[in-house]
Symmetry: C2
Subunit: 342 residues, 2 copies
């Protein structure tokens, strides 16, 4: 087990300075402190005596996901995590971490410096610097909707996307749809890729053809509605599956602006069952993610990893919520749009 002495030897500084640096003393420069932390991580140093009040610390790391208010998508996920963690004796900090902060300090060094035993991480894109580091990270982490292969210290929780798309395509298939398009998020997101693939696999499982001009993915909703949507419509789709509710809502509005009726002309399906999904007009057929249950599972998986039970993947069942935005397939061709989408 590496000790403070090993860090001191490696850097050629005194044991006292290492100790000060690890404890964040004011008279150690930020540069030296970082050097000490990175060295500590490199040689596998772990604090064996936790300081007072720091024995049971976990953090929820949030990047690019709203979670502060009850209407926010991440709110109940964080709550679900805390509701199990706090009664079990853990202190939980919720920490926003920007891309710049990730560049500044490695994940393991960050966790060591704050004395967190593990992290529940929400909202990372594949381009976030820590995503690369998590491949070899030593501090337990559970990622919501992100998967790191082969590192047993990092787990993945989410909803079962392949099942979700099987249910969605099954539902549309029952309504008579076979010409189905897909609009989704950008390919720098693990979950956008996963949903895109899940759509293709589900179409394949139902024996339905997919053509390239019926699929569009972008980080920008406007690109989906202005560039891809007209292409989908001109290829005579009768239903459009969207990777998120927000996108589905934008697609409904864009279709209506062009004079199309939902669901008589086009059926639309979302994903998430966001709070607004029940209140769109028509109500949105979608896949429910139970956020509080996701938070619960995040805690359980993290707790398991800390105790060397290496859960790699934990998936909640998908639940299809059918509302007014899907209906029987239209007969005949879609007329030209009344006007172009804006």
């Amino acid at each position: 087990m590496p000790t403070i002495n090993d860090i001191a030897d490696k850097l050629g500084i005194s044991k006292g300075t290492v100790s000060k640096a690890l404890n964040g003393a004011d008279d150690v420069s930020e540069t030296l402190r970082k050097k000490v932390l990175e060295t500590a991580v490199e040689i596998g140093y772990a604090r064996n005596r936790a300081r007072k009040n720091t024995a049971n610390r976990l953090c929820v790391i949030v990047e690019n996901l709203h979670h502060e208010d009850p209407g926010d998508f991440g709110y109940d996920i964080v709550m679900g995590f805390k509701k199990l963690a706090v009664p079990a004796g853990w202190d939980v900090d919720v920490v926003a971490v920007t891309e710049d902060q990730q560049k500044d300090i490695s994940y393991d060094a960050f966790m060591l410096s704050r004395e967190y035993k593990g992290a529940f991480i929400l909202g990372m894109s594949l381009l976030d610097p820590w995503m690369e580091e998590l491949k070899t990270a030593r501090t337990p982490a559970v990622l919501y909707d992100n998967y790191i292969p082969e590192n047993p210290r990092v787990g993945y929780i989410g909803v079962d996307n392949p099942e979700a798309f099987m249910m969605t395509i099954g539902h549309l298939n029952e309504l008579g749809h076979s010409q189905i398009g897909y609009l989704g998020g950008d390919m720098d997101s693990f979950i956008s890729r996963k949903r895109h693939n899940a759509f293709l696999d589900a179409m394949d499982a139902y024996g339905l053809a997919v053509s390239q001009n019926r699929v569009g993915c972008s980080y920008f909703i406007s690109e989906c509605t202005q560039k891809f949507l007209p292409r989908l419509l001109s290829s005579q789709v009768t239903a459009i599956v969207c990777g998120t509710d927000l996108l589905a809502q934008a697609v409904i509005v864009a279709c209506m602006d062009m004079g199309y009726r939902i669901p008589e002309d086009i059926s639309i399906v979302g994903f998430d069952d966001a709070p607004f999904a029940a209140y769109t007009s028509p109500g949105l057929t979608t896949i429910r993610q139970n956020q509080e249950a996701l938070g619960n599972c995040g805690f359980y998986a993290l707790h398991s990893l800390i105790n060397q039970t290496y859960i790699g993947t934990l998936l909640l069942r998908a639940e299809l919520i059918t509302r007014g935005s899907t209906g029987k397939v239209r007969r005949g061709k879609l007329p030209a749009p009344r006007k172009l989408p804006v």
Copy 2:
């Protein structure tokens, strides 16, 4: 909420008789008792007042899996389940259920009659009668190494097979192997199918070709060693991945009988890390399944289902254990066998 009265009305018998039947009284015929149970399940009856000592009953249902003794594969799975369940206040029965018993009573009726709140089910094949019923079962169940689509009351736990095969093929690839064969169990088993597909996907991911004469699957180990193994060897494989340790051990012995050296001529990989895997000669490179952790996860998933958190899939990380049965790829062709395998 359906009551005893509803069952009585539906069957045209008295409420007292229904009550007696549900409580297993001696003066109700077995035929009537079954009829009452099946009707109770059909209309969705649930006991709302549990009898004394039956409030918190779970069962581990075992079919076709050894679990009685510490050396048995299922032993630590059952122990891992009990170790979490019993301190949490649950009574746990371990029940062997044959195919005939499954034909005799439906899963839900069985669970209702014994007043079990949920089941952890080990060892079912796809041909077991209850596998069909589990698609619409109402009583929570967690299956080890079996997956039921779209029924939120039934979860699946196991090790991550795709990751396991990625690790295995990655390991062989590093040793220079590209001509790799696969021998596995029969296709009436969910997990045999899963491993077979995982092998094909991993080979594909590493850009390695698979030909039909390098793959063989059978319920019978002797068919694998006598029929498929010679075919694999004559197709000049340098490594063979096996679906279980037992099969791998049989393959090692059969190869040695033919005068081949392991791993100099052929590398062999198993799956499970069964207790004997460390003591074969040479020791078996294999994928470890941590049985106690699987049992722990079985309890957590079942507990979650009972509390309406619908975990569908929970996968433990695969862990590759490298021992002496794998080595660098041989140079040149494999000579003819010294003698045919018996």
